[in-house]
Structures are given as structure tokens and as C-alpha cells.
């Protein structure tokens, strides 16, 4: 039957019933060696126009689908799960999908891969997901025309479109090698989770075999033809400036190519890496010291006395009166140190800067912003700079990947050859943008029944520099040393909040209503509320570190909630539920408590002796609506506390986790497991330290991470699947909860409250000594 397909039928194809038959081969991963073909959270216009379907997808004549994404994989699984997404939407096996990640020449500008935004950005109804859905509908329409059959009588299996009357045509035959010439269709229908054959399946990360056999190419393994090696010399303190560089001091180094000085940026280039290392060690640089550092022991107090940039997030304007009339007022102050990303591999980049163009191989989270930064540093036109993402060591945020990319570009420009730079461990620790130090003051008023009537929270966050974005290369150390200004704090008093509740930093506790002009975006029920934040100037560069500031604020909110529970002698789960009203967070709290077989009773445990020295056990809970609405989780921690030594050992973590529809449960579990243990390391040991001039935690003896020899707790995970919800981020939710849950468990076990991270033995012992 040859029926003429009308234009109307084509249009109807987008609403047609398309069945992608199940096929086991759809999720059989490639077994050949894996080779990488190689702030702004939204998708930006660039020469790779994100409105055009061809910017995201190309189908070759053999049916291979090449997809282009601006969200890249650092080990958090974005390569695998985006491959699943494209395979799912196009009904092709994953082995037929080739994903190109983050390359300014070919991928759409999706800003930065960060902030738990890759999944919300690319897995809902925009960008990569929507492009793939658009492509599928376009291919069905083409097949309907070619086969002369209405779209609703077509099925797709493994990239082949068939009609019920026996006709068949492959994607390759339909479009192979040609452009779609379509715009991404906002109303193309995404395949729903109940239809999924590839998404939602526990696919192992596709890079595993290459990683385990040492054949995976990291940026550290890039060898550009003619490449030489650079090293940098950082100032002893961030504010020091170059007084003199004695080039003669390294003339004896064989293979030395050049000493490079640009304002306060100093580096060396040599033929071999070892020669560059020797030159960097021997080069005599006289630094004019900066003004010195504030004393670490008084730092949290001094933060609160700085001029600050203030933001009022919510204010019911009745907080003072309510506190005055409350039956009881409770107060506490919490503090959280600077912490390092501490990537296991120090940061590395390769740059080839020539007179009229530059190529940078970089592990940056932000290829497009880095392109802008390199263009500014080298004075090359933006279009002549190409930044290609090549994976580095896990970064967990703004480690030194951006700054070392600038280092490589400056050194390469000076010698007109490709230069590889890898920082030393010590330079990594003084070159990165630390997670901010925070102080959080909490105050609540209770009514006569012991319920919370009013919550007042004030936070101080130390900040300096940050992500360079498109126009601030000075936000990381190399840019500043080369003469660009970092972003700094302009003091400003708070104005009354307007618009929607913004809880991106989780400064607003989950237990308040979060009302602005009658519109309430909070997760809780407390109506009298005030949250005031202060950003103050940091003496060190700061930037996003996994769950930036959200972790610090959540530590304070969830420990304080626990203190209130203890004061009113309420069970910490029941009392939380009493003050929550949003379904998702209530559900994760209940699910975690159930899975942990939560022992419902007030904390601390009964019968704790003030002078006891034995090992005691306890449990604590914490919960979060991450960034207000970007994922939900609750964590129960069980700990042992050695009261003689102050040593804390977590014995079990139970996590309940809700990120909407789950794209890959295997990858999700890996993220949660790693997240809670990284959170434990940060809670128990990690802290940047300094003296009057310089940072003193510059290696793994002075910055304390938990080694692989650490006895780790059993981890039980409850995944809540919500197929009908929007997909949220999942890499930062669980880590946000750990310091609070452990702190609450220590209190339950001992009756001692530790209000400062990390919970090092001396700090725990001091709290034990103070306990009432």
C-alpha cells in the first residue's frame, strides 16, 4: 500500500506511538579499549549554536551517532550516563554512540560542569536530551515518508525503523553523513522512564577496563609533538610580589630553555621534566612579602568583624519580638574550616601557544570560560584559542585545573613550543581555591510546648576569587599573578528579600517556611524566620568545593536542630518531621530512619557518666533539600567514640536519596558511597592550616585525609525512584549530610557537642571535658 503522506502526517509523527523494542544488546558496553575522542550553568550561545540540532548530534552512514556535550566526566560518571541518554532517546545500542565532551571547537557552550547541574541541564527537557528526542522524531518522520507508512505504524529497533508491512530503513540510510538542519524542538517528546531500556539501568562506567589496565588517557598523559616541560614558582604568601628574579642562578641547569617572568608570575621551561624541577628548585626569587595572615586561632572571631557583603534571604520581620516572647531561647555558633579539593594527582595541563593560535589540553570544568581566560592572558583573539577537555584526577570542584591551564599557556607563549606543566603537591595545596571557611550563628525561640516558633540564622563566609567565568581570570592565582584582578568583596548592607526564595547555598534551614511576599519556598513549617548572610574577604583564594557552603550551612542547621531536640527531650526524627512540610524531605527522613531501624528516643543516650573513658556508641541523623530543590537526602550515622583518646569511628551509614528519575543506579550508588566517605574524611580530619605568613598544610602529612587503610563504615543506600519528577543532581547531596550526622552521633554517644569541624581527637576530648 503506497499511501501519500501528507504534511499533516509528518507533523503528527511527533505525537506518534514509537516503540523501541527491548534488546539486550542495547546495554552491552563496548569492550574495546576506551579512547577519549577527544557558573553559569545553562547553555550559552556560541559559534556552536545550541538551538541547532546539528550542534548536538550527527548520524554517520553506518548508523553511528556522535553526540556533543558541554558536560564532561571527571570520574562522576557523566560520560557513561550521557551515552545512555543518547542511546535511549534514539533507540540505538550504546556501542553505536560516540560522545564528544567539552571542546570549544565542536561542543555547545554549556558553561561549567559543576554544581550538580549536569543532570538537571541535560536530562530534563532541554539541551542534550531534547536534541536527542528531536532527532528521533525527525528520523521517524523521514522514515514515514520514505516507507510511505504513517508514523504510528513504525517501530524502531537498534537504529532501524520498520513498518508493520515489512518495510525497513536504517538511520544511516535516512540521514547518514547529512545535516538535520533543524532547530531543537522544545515539544519533542522524551521517552518516559516507564519506557526506558537503557537509561535507568545499572550500567558500569564505560571507562573501567581502560582505567584498571592503566591505558586510559588523562591530561597528564597528553604528549604534544615537540612538547617541553614547565614548572612554576608560587609566592610564599598569596599577596607577596616579585622583587627580583636571578636568572643566573639556573644557568647551570642542562636543558633549561627559559625563565619566564610576567608581573608576579614566575616559571621555568626545560627540555625534560626533571630539568624543569631542578631549575624551579634552584631559581633564586626574591619576594616582597604581603601584609601577613590573620592568626588562625582567632580567625573565626575575626571573620565576624570584617566589613561584609550582606544578603537577607528571608525575613518575616517579627523575629526579634518572637524571640522576646518565646518560652525559651537557644543559641549556638558553629564553625567550619577551609578545606582543600586535594586531588590525588596534582593538576596538569598542556598548552601550545603560537603567534596566531593556541590549543590547550585541560582538565578544567569550564572549557569555554577557560578559552576566554587564555585569550585574555595571551592577548590572542578568542576564536583562535581552542580548549580541549581531557580528564584529570578527580577535582570535586575548582581545584588547580584552571590555574595550571593558565600556567601552561603563559609558559608556552614565552617559548613558542607546547609546554606541559604539572604542579608539585605543595604547589597544588597553595594554588587551589579552597572551600570557604564559615561561621554560622543560630538562634531559635521555643513555645510553651517545646515546638520551634522562630528561627534566626546569621552566616559568615570567607570569599576571594572563585571561578574565573568568562571575564575574571584573576579569580585563580595564576591570573592574579599575571596582573588580572580577582573578584573581591564590596561591602553592602542587606536589603529586604524580594522574588522567589533563593536557597542555593542552603543557608535557609529546611525547617522554615521560606516566605517572601506571601510565596513560600521553604521545606518546613516555622513561620517566624530570618536568614542573613555575610560574605567577607578571605586571605586565601576560595571557590566551589563539592557541596560548597551548602555542606557548611547544613552542618550548622542539622547539628543545631539536634541540640534543640536534646533540649526538649524529643526524638530527633520525630521532632524533625514535626517541623517539615515538604514531601520529598519528609520521605527521605522516614526512609533512612526505617532502613537504619532508628531507635526512637531523645539524645544523648541515658546513663552517660561525665568522666567515662570507655568506648561508647551513638547514632545521629541529618537531612537536606539540596540547594532547596536539587535533590533530597537523609543520613543516619552510627559511631563509636573512644572517650580516652577522642577518636571517632563511624561504623555504619544509612542514606536515603531522592534525585527524581534515576538515570544509572550503579553510577548513583558509586557517587553516594564516595560522597559519604569523602564527607567523613572532611568531618574527621581535613583542615587547611597556616602560620603568620603561609599555609602550612601542603602535603599528605600535614593535610589529613583518610587513607585506604581506614576502616570504613558499612554503607546502606535506599534509592527513592521518582520517575515523574524532574531529574536533579546527585553528586553532592549525600556528602552534605555527613559532618552533621557524625556530630549528632557523637553527641548521642557521649553527651558532648562538637561545634567545629573537623572532629579531631583533641577537639572531641575538649568537648568531652566540657560536657554537662
Amino acid at each position: 500500500m503506497n499511501r501519500e503522506i501528507s504534511r499533516r502526517d509528518f507533523v503528527k509523527a511527533s505525537g506518534a506511538l514509537v516503540v523501541c523494542f527491548s534488546a539486550a544488546s542495547l546495554i552491552e558496553p563496548l569492550i574495546e579499549p576506551f579512547a577519549l575522542a577527544q557558573g553559569p550553568f545553562d547553555t550559552h550561545s556560541s559559534h556552536v549554536d545550541p538551538e541547532k540540532l546539528d550542534s548536538w548530534l550527527a548520524v554517520a552512514s553506518d548508523g553511528t551517532v556522535t553526540a556533543y556535550t558541554g558536560k564532561c566526566d571527571f570520574g562522576q560518571g557523566m560520560y557513561t550516563v550521557q551515552t545512555q541518554l543518547v542511546a535511549e532517546e534514539l533507540c540505538v545500542p550504546i556501542a553505536k554512540v560516540k560522545l564528544i565532551q567539552c571542546d570549544t571547537s565542536v561542543t555547545p557552550d554549556q558553561g561549567t560542569t559543576s554544581g550538580s547541574q549536569s543532570t538537571p541541564t541535560n536530562f530534563n527537557t532541554r539541551n542534550l536530551a531534547q536534541a536527542a528526542a528531536t532527532a528521533r522524531e525527525a528520523l521517524v518522520t523521514m522514515a514515514a515518508q520514505k516507507l510511505g507508512v504513517p508514523a504510528d505504524r513504525l517501530t524502531i529497533e537498534n537504529g532501524v525503523v520498520s513498518s508493520n508491512s515489512g518495510g525497513r530503513v536504517t538511520y544511516g540510510e535516512l540521514i547518514g553523513g547529512k545535516h538535520f538542519d533543524l532547530t531543537v524542538n522544545a515539544s519533542a517528546k522524551r521517552r518516559s522512564p516507564d519506557q526506558w531500556k537503557v537509561l535507568g539501568k545499572p550500567l558500569p562506567s564505560m571507562d573501567q577496563l581502560a582505567l584498571m589496565t592503566g591505558t586510559f588517557e588523562f591530561v597528564h598523559n597528553v604528549h604534544a609533538p615537540g612538547m617541553v616541560h614547565g614548572r612554576v614558582l608560587r609566592p610564599p604568601d598569596t599577596a607577596a610580589t616579585v622583587a627580583n628574579v636571578d636568572e643566573k642562578s639556573v644557568q647551570h641547569i642542562p636543558g633549561l630553555i627559559k625563565v619566564v617572568v610576567r608581573k608576579n608570575f614566575v616559571g621555568v621551561v626545560a627540555e625534560k621534566q626533571w630539568q624543569a624541577a631542578q631549575a624551579a628548585k634552584d631559581l633564586m626569587v626574591e619576594w616582597k612579602p604581603g601584609p601577613g595572615l590573620p592568626a588562625q586561632k582567632d580567625f573565626y572571631d575575626s571573620m565576624r568583624k570584617q566589613p561584609s557583603r550582606d544578603l537577607m534571604l528571608v525575613n518575616s520581620n517579627d523575629v526579634e519580638n518572637k524571640l522576646k516572647s518565646a518560652a525559651q531561647v537557644l543559641k549556638a555558633t558553629y564553625s567550619h574550616p577551609y578545606q582543600a579539593h586535594g586531588s590525588i594527582g596534582s593538576s596538569c595541563a598542556v598548552a601550545d601557544v603560537q603567534a596566531d593560535h593556541a590549543t590547550v589540553w585541560s582538565a578544567t570544568q569550564s572549557v569555554y570560560p577557560t578559552q576566554h581566560g587564555v585569550a585574555a592572558l595571551t592577548s590572542l583573539p578568542l576564536d583562535s584559542v581552542r580548549v580541549i577537555f581531557v580528564r584529570g584526577s578527580g577535582c570535586y570542584g575548582l581545584n588547580a585545573a584552571d590555574t595550571v591551564s593558565y600556567d601552561a599557556a603563559l609558559l608556552s607563549q614565552a617559548v613558542h613550543r607546547p609546554v606541559r606543566v604539572q604542579l608539585t603537591r605543595q604547589e597544588e595545596f597553595i594554588s587551589e581555591n579552597y572551600g570557604s571557611a564559615c561561621v554560622i550563628e543560630q538562634q531559635v525561640g521555643l513555645d510553651a510546648n517545646g515546638a520551634i516558633e522562630v528561627w534566626d540564622c546569621e552566616t559568615w563566609t570567607a570569599s576571594f576569587g572563585g571561578r574565573p567565568g568568562y571575564d575574571k581570570p584573576g579569580n585563580v592565582i595564576t591570573g592574579m599573578l599575571a596582573g588580572f584582578d580577582p573578584e573581591t568583596i564590596t561591602p553592602r548592607t542587606a536589603v529586604e528579600p524580594t522574588g522567589e526564595l533563593r536557597n542555593g547555598n542552603n543557608a535557609v534551614p529546611s525547617y522554615v517556611v521560606g516566605c517572601i511576599s506571601g510565596k513560600c519556598g521553604g521545606a518546613g513549617s516555622i513561620r517566624s524566620e530570618r536568614v542573613l548572610t555575610h560574605a567577607v574577604k578571605s586571605p586565601f583564594f576560595t571557590g566551589p568545593l563539592r557541596s560548597p557552603v551548602r555542606l557548611q550551612n547544613t552542618f550548622a542547621h542539622e547539628c543545631f536542630m539536634d541540640e534543640i531536640c536534646a533540649y526538649v527531650k524529643a526524638d530527633p526524627v520525630a521532632y524533625r518531621l514535626q517541623h517539615l512540610r515538604e514531601t520529598q524531605i519528609i520521605d527521605v527522613v522516614k526512609a533512612a530512619a526505617k532502613a537504619a531501624r532508628w531507635d526512637a528516643r531523645p539524645s544523648p543516650k541515658r546513663g552517660i557518666a561525665r568522666t567515662a573513658t570507655g568506648i561508647v556508641t551513638g547514632r545521629g541523623i541529618s537531612c537536606v533539600a539540596y540547594e532547596g530543590d536539587n535533590g533530597y537526602a537523609a543520613l543516619v550515622a552510627e559511631v563509636e567514640v573512644n572517650q580516652a583518646s577522642g577518636q571517632v569511628q563511624a561504623t555504619r551509614f544509612v542514606v536515603a536519596h531522592d534525585c527524581g528519575p534515576i538515570s544509572n543506579p550503579e553510577g548513583l550508588r558509586n557517587q553516594i558511597e564516595g560522597g559519604v566517605l569523602q564527607g567523613m574524611s572532611r568531618a574527621l580530619g581535613e583542615e587547611i592550616t597556616w602560620d603568620d605568613r603561609k599555609v602550612t598544610s601542603t602535603d599528605w602529612r600535614t593535610y589529613h585525609t583518610l587513607s585506604l587503610g581506614t576502616q570504613v563504615p558499612a554503607i546502606d543506600i535506599v534509592l527513592m525512584d521518582r520517575p515523574a519528577a524532574q531529574a536533579t543532581g546527585a553528586g553532592e547531596t549525600a556528602i552534605t549530610l555527613v559532618a552533621a550526622a557524625i556530630g549528632n552521633a557523637i553527641f548521642d554517644a557521649t553527651g558532648a557537642r562538637v561545634r567545629e569541624v573537623p572532629f579531631i581527637p583533641d577537639r572531641v576530648k575538649a568537648a568531652l571535658f566540657r560536657r554537662a
Binding site: 571527571f74 582505567l211 589496565t213 592503566g214 591505558t215 580528564r391 599528605w700
Partner: protein, 154 residues
């Protein structure tokens, strides 16, 4: 500079190099091997680990001249993607990686321990790994992978 010959993963290489150069730089720059990696240069993390005479050695602090005629085995010398070694397969089976930068230290340290003491207890494994770092904290899966490999040899 001096001519140094080096046997790595079954192949003999001749390099002209400053003999005080750390073995790691020769492996990664001159031989372009990807397994051993620079993590700290201080023998504190394990990312540069190679095997020499059955022992896990930190190549970032070992001068190349100290290797002499001993054969060096790197992570890629253990097995290949087509034919992974049993311990590499155990890590694949357990999905025991995130970024994967630390794996030379984890896999080769565990292999050296179990070659020497096939019945190593959990405590002995933890002691052996107490100077190996993984900053993605893939600890649970890695310990499971090591035990899986241990069981497979029994």
C-alpha cells in the same frame, strides 16, 4: 646525561638521561606509559606505584639509576584491556573506581601483598594500604575487589 637501559613490562629500553631522574619521569615522559602517575612526588600517596622484584615501589622517589637490571612492571604491564589480569578484572567486576587516578597504587600494592601472603587478613590489607590514597573515596568497592581477587586465587 647517561645511557641507561631499562626493562619495563618485558621490553628493553635505552634512554639517555640524567641518572638522578626519578624513575616515574622516565616511565611517563620518555616511555609514555600511562599507568604510573605523579600524585605527590613525596611517596605519600601511591599513584606512581610500580612493581620491582614483586614489591610495590614508589617510582616518584626512586632515581632511575637505582633500578639497574631489575625489571619494572607497571599497571599496563599486568594485563591488557583485551586480557586483564585477574586483579584488574576483580576491580572491573566491582566497579571499583571513580576518577581512577590512584589505581596503580591500589592494585599493585594489593597484588604485592597477596603474592607474598595469599591469606592476608583484612587488618593486613588495611595495613598495606595505609599509605595509599583515593580521594574519590572508592574504599568500599576497592576492598571488595581485593577480597574478590583473593578468593579467586584460593
Amino acid at each position: 646525561m647517561a645511557a641507561i637501559s631499562l626493562k619495563v613490562n618485558g621490553h628493553l629500553h635505552a634512554v639517555d638521561i640524567d641518572p638522578s631522574t626519578p624513575l616515574l619521569y622516565v616511565l611517563s615522559d620518555d616511555l609514555q606509559l600511562r599507568g604510573p602517575k605523579f600524585g605527590c612526588g613525596l611517596a605519600q600517596c601511591g599513584a606512581c606505584t610500580v612493581m620491582i622484584k614483586g614489591r610495590a615501589v614508589r617510582s616518584c622517589v626512586m632515581p632511575v639509576s637505582a633500578v639497574k637490571e631489575q625489571e619494572v612492571t607497571t599497571l599496563e604491564g599486568l594485563g591488557t584491556p583485551e586480557k586483564p589480569h585477574a586483579i584488574q578484572q576483580a576491580f572491573v567486576d566491582e566497579g571499583a573506581a571513580q576518577c581512577g587516578f590512584c589505581l596503580s597504587g591500589v592494585i599493585l600494592t594489593a597484588k604485592a601483598l597477596l603474592d607474598e601472603n595469599p591469606k592476608a587478613s583484612d587488618d593486613q590489607m588495611r595495613a598495606a594500604l595505609s599509605n595509599v590514597l583515593c580521594r574519590c573515596f572508592t574504599h568500599t568497592r576497592m576492598m571488595r575487589a581485593i577480597r574478590r581477587y583473593q578468593r579467586s586465587r584460593a
